[in-house]
């Protein structure tokens, strides 16, 4: 640095704060803290494996029926048909596509549950407090825009390769929309309705449970839907750190320049995405769209309830 002359017009070239070297310290930190995180990791790993084992244990056709019934209940008959078509296509893609899809579904489910557990409280907090919102917003921006490859290495150093790391990197990428939309939903609740609740003696907790969350539900579910979609879009990157499933197929096909296999894996992800998207969007339908019927009077549950009612 001393031998170079300082160029006032291009000062950045002659200033070296060696941020890159210093930031590499995070890797050392991650390695030295490895042992601390291992018990938690093993616990989560066993959970994910159990979920996956459960999903794999169900015969594909039974699983297909269950998913179609869920779709019917959540979103109506038309969506159930779309879901059925997507699942059949998914199964026909290749003989082992169904099993891979279930592995991916297990990872995505684990990630989404974790996102909901973290994102909902954060979103509610951000919806209630302007200060918290202004603090968390740049954090969310960073999480959403920073390339996954940047945090892939520290996460692997800290946790090791495998499903848990896959879930962690997925959370980093998929969490922000849930927090944002939960906050937006809470903020979007008609203030005069909240005022009325206060005027009739509701406590802050009751206002949250009985007024704000129910009214924010469509927006929150839109956030959940986005989180699921982003989780699915992370499966290929997650497969770089030894997460199995459809993502891994795509990654391997890429390595072998096997376009056909990549298309099979990719289409599998798309089919899974459509299924999950339609089901979660259906959850967000308002009472009015369901014809003001409570949920147990619609869909397959409604049919069964009516049958039971008739035989009695």
């Amino acid at each position: 640095m001393a031998d170079k002359t300082f160029d006032w017009l291009n000062p950045f070239a002659s200033i070296d704060l060696s941020i890159g070297e210093r930031a590499d310290g995070i890797k050392q930190w991650a390695i030295s803290n490895r042992d601390l995180i291992q018990p938690t990791k093993r616990f989560l790993e066993s959970l994910i494996i159990k979920v996956e084992a459960a999903l794999q244990a169900v015969p594909p056709l039974v699983m297909l029926a269950i998913l179609v019934l869920i779709a019917w209940q959540a979103a109506g008959r038309r969506v159930a048909i779309v879901v059925a078509c997507c699942l059949v296509i998914l199964g026909l893609l290749s003989p082992d596509a169904w099993g891979l899809a279930m592995t991916t579904l297990a990872i995505v489910t684990a990630s989404v549950i974790a996102c909901a557990a973290i994102g909902l409280p954060l979103g509610i907090l951000a919806g209630k407090s302007d200060r918290f919102e202004s603090v968390i917003r740049p954090v969310l921006d960073t999480m959403q825009t920073i390339p996954a490859f940047v945090y892939l290495v520290p996460v692997v150093m800290l946790i090791g390769i495998g499903n848990v790391s896959g879930v962690v990197v997925t959370i980093i990428f998929a969490l922000p929309p849930l927090v944002r939309l939960t906050s937006l939903g809470i903020r979007g609740v008609n203030p005069s309705v909240v005022e009325a609740a206060r005027a009739f003696g509701a406590s802050p907790g009751q206002i949250l449970r009985k007024v704000e969350l129910p009214l924010a539900t469509p927006t929150i579910l839109a956030g959940l839907n986005q989180t699921i979609m982003l989780s699915l879009s992370m499966v290929v990157i997650a497969s770089m750190i030894a997460v199995k499933g459809l993502g891994n197929e795509v990654l391997r096909a890429m390595g072998r320049l096997d376009a056909g296999k990549a298309i099979v894996g990719g289409l599998g992800i798309v089919m899974l995405a459509i299924v999950l998207d339609r089901i979660t969007q259906g959850l967000g339908r308002s009472g009015r769209e369901r014809g003001h019927l409570p949920w147990w009077q619609t869909g397959p549950v409604g049919v069964i309830a009516r049958l039971i009612g008739r035989t009695n």
């Binding site: 309705v193 005022e195 009325a196 609740a197 009739f200 003696g201 009751q206 009472g287 009015r288």
Partner: protein
């Protein structure tokens, strides 16, 4: 009003200054007597309510009338402490609302005060029944009790059979009936009505005013009723407060307000109001003695006779059949005379100074 009236609501010197530096502004007002403009310029604060004091007796309907932005909605929210005053206090049945802890305040709101909003503010995700029973639900009442109370309140506002519907399935007028039922459900002592009928079209408004007045005649709720419509205030209110720019300009019975406006602002308001069913003979008559003094002894045998409580409308009926003035008799005694001139001036809303010696 009965002589021994019991104040249910008492507001003492309520000030509400909005802004970050409201405390300092309040101190400056108290110590230096700053004006509203000074406060805005020096502290960047807005005065919402300025030194409002009033009492509302048990069973009384107290109307607060003012144009939008006059601070009336802010004022009514002090009564159930939805808004904290910058200075002053509200007492409900002698208890200082501003000294209550959060729990006592919630109890007061749920059990003693019902509120109706201009925007209805019904909860769109709840059925009519669940909206009406909301205040009982937050108090942790049982399902059965809620159902019973809600159906009674729904019957009261003529919405029987609509309890399983959602608010968006109802018309505006019906929605506000739900609002009224919700306010009445817990059988509160006090009703706060924040422009309840302003958002409705005129016909429905009349209809709901009727429903409200029937209910209030039956239930005798102590009511604070906000409106921007003087006709409504006069029709509904036992007493009216006129509010302008955060100040209560005048408080009085409808007759007092109309016949004796405190300032030009109130006078302008009441100018267009028909006095026929409002002003009484007692207000415009001149004492009989003074009349005799001015016009000499009179043969009053042919004169029509009215009572001090007769409204102008009735006096007009008496006056059209004769050229004589009207004799006002109370308890067998002739107390005053209403001349044609006084009557005509009275219809205009003026008390004829010349004709009335008092």
């Amino acid at each position: 009003m009965a002589e021994t009236r019991e104040d249910v609501i008492r507001c003492e010197g309520i000030w509400k200054i909005f802004g970050d530096k409201s405390r300092q502004a309040m101190e400056a007002v108290l110590s230096k007597g700053l004006s509203k403009t000074d406060i805005r310029q020096q502290f960047d604060c807005v005065v919402g309510v300025q030194d409002a004091s009033f009492t509302v007796g048990r069973g009384e309907i107290f109307c607060i009338m003012g144009l939008s932005g006059s601070g009336k909605s802010t004022l009514i929210r002090h009564i159930n402490r939805l808004i904290e005053p910058t200075s002053g206090a509200v007492y409900i049945e002698g208890e200082n609302v501003n000294a209550m802890n959060a729990q006592a305040l919630r109890r007061l709101r749920a059990e003693k005060i019902g509120m109706v909003f201009q925007s209805m503010a019904l909860m769109p995700h709840r059925t009519v029944r669940d909206n009406v029973a909301f205040s009982l639900e937050v108090r942790g009442k049982t399902e059965a009790e809620r159902a019973k109370v809600a159906s009674r309140a729904i019957d009261m506002v003529d919405l029987t059979g609509w309890d399983a519907k959602y608010p968006d399935e109802l018309s505006g007028g019906m929605q506000q009936r739900v609002g009224l039922a919700r306010a009445l459900a817990a059988d509160p002592t006090i009703l706060l009505m924040d422009e309840p009928f302003s958002a409705l079209d005129p016909l429905i408004r009349r209809q709901l005013q009727g429903t409200f007045m029937e209910l209030s005649a039956e239930l005798h709720k102590t009511t604070v009723f906000i409106t921007h419509d003087l006709d409504e205030a006069i029709r509904i209110g036992d007493r009216i407060a006129i509010m302008k720019d955060g100040v209560l300009v005048q408080i009085g019975t409808p007759e007092e307000i109309v016949t004796n406006p405190a300032d030009d602002y109130v006078a302008e308001f009441v100018a267009g109001i028909s006095k026929l069913d409002l002003v009484t003979a007692a207000r415009i008559m001149q004492p009989f003695a003074a009349y005799v003094q001015a016009n000499g002894p009179q043969d009053t045998a042919a004169w029509p006779v009215g009572k001090p409580g007769d409204k102008l409308n009735e006096l007009v009926d008496l006056a059209v059949g004769t050229d004589h003035p009207i004799l006002i008799v109370a308890g067998g005694q002739t107390v005053g005379v209403v001349t044609k001139r006084a009557l005509l001036r009275g219809i205009q809303g003026r008390v004829d100074a010349e004709g009335r010696a008092a």
